[in-house]
Amino acid sequence: MPAKKIKNKTSFIQSGKLDITFLSLVLILLSIGLVMLFSASYAYSYTYYGNSYRFISRQALFAIIGVAIMLGVSKIDYGILKKLSWVIYAVTIAMLVVVLIIPPMSAELNVHRWLYIGSFSFQPSEIAKFSIIVLFSAWLAANSEKIKKLRYVAWLLLLLAIVCVLVVREPHLSATILIFALGIVLMVVGGLKLRWILIGGGVGIGGIVALILTGAISYGSDRIKYWLDPWADATGLGYQTIQSLLAIGSGGVLGRGIGQSRQKYLWVPEPHNDFIFSIVCEELGLIGAMVIIVLFCALVWRGFTIAMRSKDRFGTLLAIGLTFQVGMQAILNILVVTNTIPNTGISLPFFSYGGTALVILLAEMGIVLSVSRGSSIEKV
């Protein structure tokens, strides 16, 4: 990977115009997300912290920081990531190992998802997604010919597999699926032969079916049982799903109105986290929910458009990966909340509570904006 930085000799500052549409979509989703988080967390926060504003005030603070970081990152030339891709990957692997070793701090036994630095906490799996996106984008942008060779495909799959195995050991199934999908999508865009795509698709589907049938993932298979019939244990493992469905179903076409959810009164467990979309449905109704889905689709469309217009393949792949990640996560989250797929524990971007995750997300959106700035210079 020889250095190709010629234009900006010593500076990594981008000076092109950023994509206003993409920025607007991010800010709209973020704003709606904050309002809904406030509503969803209101009762929970009051009950457990004696203060209705605990969640929203923290999230809003992180949102402001995140937007500042996003705008800052958009000014930095994303090309710098190319050089750091292996470093990022190595650090990620280290964090994924550490998180498995240190004892978990949360009450849930045997779930190793969080790392704590001072009062901040974050999930290394979030970093892992980013790491795979950067590494694969960098490698595929530079090696569009090598990807056609099986041994390099195997090499990439190995790099991907190392991360996936570590994440699935946490266990964090949804992140694993997402990381795996990101790797595959980037390889497909990066030039993987069509034949292998089809073969790989077939093998993948077969493998999943085999895993389910043999019950290899016990933690998953239990979830599948209560996914198919949550009412079988309405007060236990099916509880969260049922409460989510009751919230969504209570929304009707127009919803109860902002702030009027009843299910958020502790019926939906932690309504500000993964299941926030059920409260969104109850308050905003089918119409509101569809507006949000359309906004996510628009974000995907705009991110992919930025990707296609990128001045270089690294920018293309980077924007694809980052945008795909957001879109995919939103899809999976909504499918979980509607009990369309088993509950895997996945948050809704821009909506779910989590300060560091939001900052990371906005920083990633900043990178997409950085890509958009690069392409605008090219055009001028």
């Binding site: 089918l286 569809m290 889905i293 995907v300 995919m328």
Partner: protein, 745 residues
């Protein structure tokens, strides 16, 4: 130079984008439509089911006041303790155990329940469990204190106290049978509480509120409140004082005469039908209607006990004056006399010869007086309660007229008094009535009516002939004391004429002054009345023992009656079983207290004044010698205690009445009164003169009550207001009750 995306890449990007967007929109919209639209209603109702709860807000039950607006039944605040087990179940396991233990410990200490039961409540898989109902305020406060003492465990999140109401009868047993009582949910179960349950209950309100998963209320915006409407209150015709007097003397009589099947008493205004008192003994305490009395417990625990708890309780709850019927016996002669006088078949001066026996259709009837009464006027026949005479006039009247009047006196139907469980009378229908049925009916046997029917009918005989609707509730008022309904005296019909009624009053006055009801005599007041003694034939046969009901109906003042009083003592086992000896004195005792209370001044006859009522003068601060003069002039005696010159205190006080030769005790030193005491002698069985001597020799004063002059007959003391052997201050006035023990009917 950077390489831009190839065409192949662009194609794949567009493909992936479309795939993502189409997958996203299609799958999610299908699912959302399915959940929100197709299953929406079901989901919504399931959600409502868990979120909403409906709380009944019980309306405060109306009060019951007596005629003077004294509160006799009201509602106190009571408390219900509940827990929300689900909110405990959702805690961490360690904390769960701590919270459960703390709650169980508190409940077992404060609520009188065992630890295991209390612990069991905390483990229920529900969000709301009532632990205990109707606890009082101190207990509720103890629970609250316990909760705040354990604030580290936040016990107040799991234990709650709701306010409810508990019926409270401040006068305990007073009028209990009349008032009735309420059940656990304040529903009226007997008496007025039952009859007027809907009036008293009011309209319960509802709060439909939303709750969170811990069972706590959601914010106010989710509440729908329907205000509770307080129940209306009753204002009775009953006067607590008269009720108290009636109960006091009835209870004494039931005890003294060892009545084994209770006693009843009604005091009624003869000119309105308003019930002034309705007493039944033995009764119960409506504050604890389900608690057995010691007496009943003993009955229940007796070896060959033939009672059950329910029988014993039911018997005490039963309103004997309304729900039981009995043969009125000679009391009914009031009605028979009314009929024949109204029909002009006889007059007070018509004479009849009683030859001890009389035959009717081959059936022989005896007079209660051996050898018969001989020749006597109709009025004397009433005074003598002569059965053959009444059989004779009854036959003159005939079945059809008898039946007509019997019905007109309201004896064939319930009176319709506003009380539950009124008994229907049992009587000979006209079609089934022959000469012998007519004969026995003429003196009040072989048919049964209730006490309330009888006093209503007898009142019509003396009040000018008007049969009134008896009633207990005078007014219904709302919570702001506005009158909702006011009950007016209601004449059903005129049964006999004014002139016949006047004759009846004359006869009944003679009965008290000269006859079987002489024990109903009240000095200073004209009382009329009639006694009755009837054998409980069926019960006697069943038990092998002769069982009687002794009864009396009296009216005062007899020249212009206002008050009727009925006494009925069921199965007396004392020295006498006759209405004259058992029931009539009770009537006198009641009237003697009630008439002055109602504002009637006693008007003594010359004869009464002779041995009666010398007003004690004020001797305080006068010198000993002056006092001596004054007292001896009045025909009283003076007893001086102390060596002072002026009188400091005196007994009896200024203005009280003493009989001739009564003793006034004066103290010439401070604080003397009460220092010198004397033991109250036993007056039982003494004649009035003997009692007076005994009293004055003991330094006590005597007040006569009841029958002290009964012509040639001898009356004897049967009771005294201060018990034998009690230490009292010298000069204290003891009321001694006299009756003619030989009185029959």
């Amino acid at each position: 130079m950077a390489v831009k995306a190839s065409k192949m890449m662009i194609k794949r990007i567009i493909f992936i984008m479309l795939a993502v967007v189409i997958l996203f929109v299609s799958v999610t919209s299908v699912r959302l439509v399915q959940i929100m639209i197709i299953d929406g209603e079901k989901m919504q109702s399931l959600a409502s089911e868990q979120q909403l709860y409906d709380t009944l807000v019980t309306a405060p039950r109306g009060n019951i006041y007596d005629s003077e607006m004294n509160l006799i039944a009201t509602s106190d605040t009571a408390y219900t303790v509940y827990i929300t087990p689900n909110s405990i179940n959702s805690l961490e396991e360690k904390k769960q155990v701590k919270v459960r233990e703390a709650i169980a410990k508190g409940f077992s200490e404060i609520l009188d329940m065992d630890y295991e039961t209390a612990y069991g409540y905390t483990e229920k898989k529900t969000y709301y469990v009532i632990v205990k109902k109707r606890i009082d305020k101190p207990t509720a406060d103890k629970i609250r204190t316990y909760l705040s003492d354990n604030s580290d465990l936040k016990l107040a999140k799991y234990v709650g106290i709701d306010e409810t109401t508990k019926r409270y009868y401040p006068n305990q047993n007073l009028a209990s049978v009349l008032l009735g009582f309420v059940g656990d949910d304040n529903q009226g179960l007997s008496g007025l509480e039952n009859y007027y349950d809907r009036t008293l209950t009011g309209v319960a309100g509802r709060v439909v509120a939303a709750k969170n998963a811990l069972g706590a209320d959601m914010p106010f915006s989710y509440q729908v409140v329907e205000e509770a409407k307080q129940g209306n209150s009753l204002v009775l015709t009953v006067d607590s004082y008269i009720q108290h007097i009636a109960e006091k003397y009835l209870e004494q009589a039931v005890e003294a005469n060892k009545a084994s099947d209770r006693g009843a008493c009604i005091v009624m205004n003869v000119n309105t039908g308003a019930v002034l008192a309705m007493a039944v003994k033995g009764d119960f305490n409506p504050n604890e209607p389900f608690t057995l009395t010691e007496e009943d417990k003993a009955l229940l625990e007796a070896e060959d006990s033939k009672y059950t708890v329910n029988e014993l309780l039911n018997k005490r709850w039963r309103n004997k004056a309304v729900s039981d019927t009995y043969e009125p016996g000679s009391v009914f002669k009031i009605m028979t006399a009314s009929m024949v006088l109204e029909e002009d078949l006889t007059s007070l001066t018509n004479t009849y010869n009683c030859g001890y026996t009389i035959y009717v259709a081959g059936q022989i009837y005896h007079c209660h007086k051996r050898g018969g009464h001989g020749l006597q006027t109709f009025k004397q026949a009433m005074v003598n309660s002569c059965n053959p005479t009444f059989i004779t006039v009854g036959q003159l009247l005939g079945v059809s007229k008898f039946s007509k009047y019997f019905e007109a006196f309201g004896l064939t139907k319930k009176t319709g008094i506003d009380l539950p469980g009124e008994a229907s009378p049992v009587y000979h229908k006209q079609a089934n009535m022959g000469p012998t049925e007519l004969a026995s009916s003429s003196f009040g046997q072989t048919f049964k009516v209730s006490a309330i029917q009888l006093i209503t009918a007898a009142s019509a005989a003396v009040n000018g002939g008007y049969l009134y609707q008896p009633y207990v509730v005078e007014k219904i008022i709302d919570s702001d004391n506005n009158v909702v309904k006011s009950v007016q005296a209601n004449v059903k019909r005129q049964v006999i004429s004014e002139s016949t009624s006047t004759k009846l009053r004359e006869m009944l006055k003679a009965v008290v002054n000269d006859g079987g009801a002489s024990n109903a005599y009240v000095a200073g007041y004209g009382v009329g009345g009639k006694t009755g003694t009837s054998e409980k034939v069926a019960e006697s046969q069943a038990s092998g023992e002769r069982l009687y009901i002794a009864s009396f109906i009296g009216f005062a003042p007899i020249d212009d009656p206002e008050i009727a009083v009925l006494i009925m003592i069921d199965e007396p086992h004392g020295s006498s079983h006759f209405g004259g000896a058992v029931a009539a004195p009770v009537g006198a005792e009641i009237l003697e207290d009630v008439l002055p209370y109602l504002g009637y001044e006693p008007q003594y006859t010359e004869e009464e004044l002779k041995n009666f009522a010398i007003k004690v003068p004020n001797l305080i601060d006068s010198s000993v010698s002056d006092a001596k003069n004054e007292i001896s002039k009045l025909g009283l005696k003076l007893r001086i205690i102390g060596s002072g010159d002026t009188i400091k205190t005196q007994l009896p006080a200024h203005g009280e009445s003493l009989y001739k030769d009564g003793t006034v005790i004066v103290y010439t030193e401070d604080g003397g009164a009460g220092e010198s005491t004397v033991s109250v002698p036993n007056f039982n069985g003494m004649t009035p003169a003997e009692a007076n001597n005994t009293a004055s020799s003991n330094g006590l004063n005597i007040k006569y009550s009841g029958n002290i002059s009964s012509g040639t007959r001898i009356t004897k003391a049967y009771d005294q207001d201060i018990a034998y052997g009690t230490e009292v201050a010298v000069g204290t006035t003891i009321t001694v009750y006299f009756r003619d023990e030989s009185s029959t009917d």
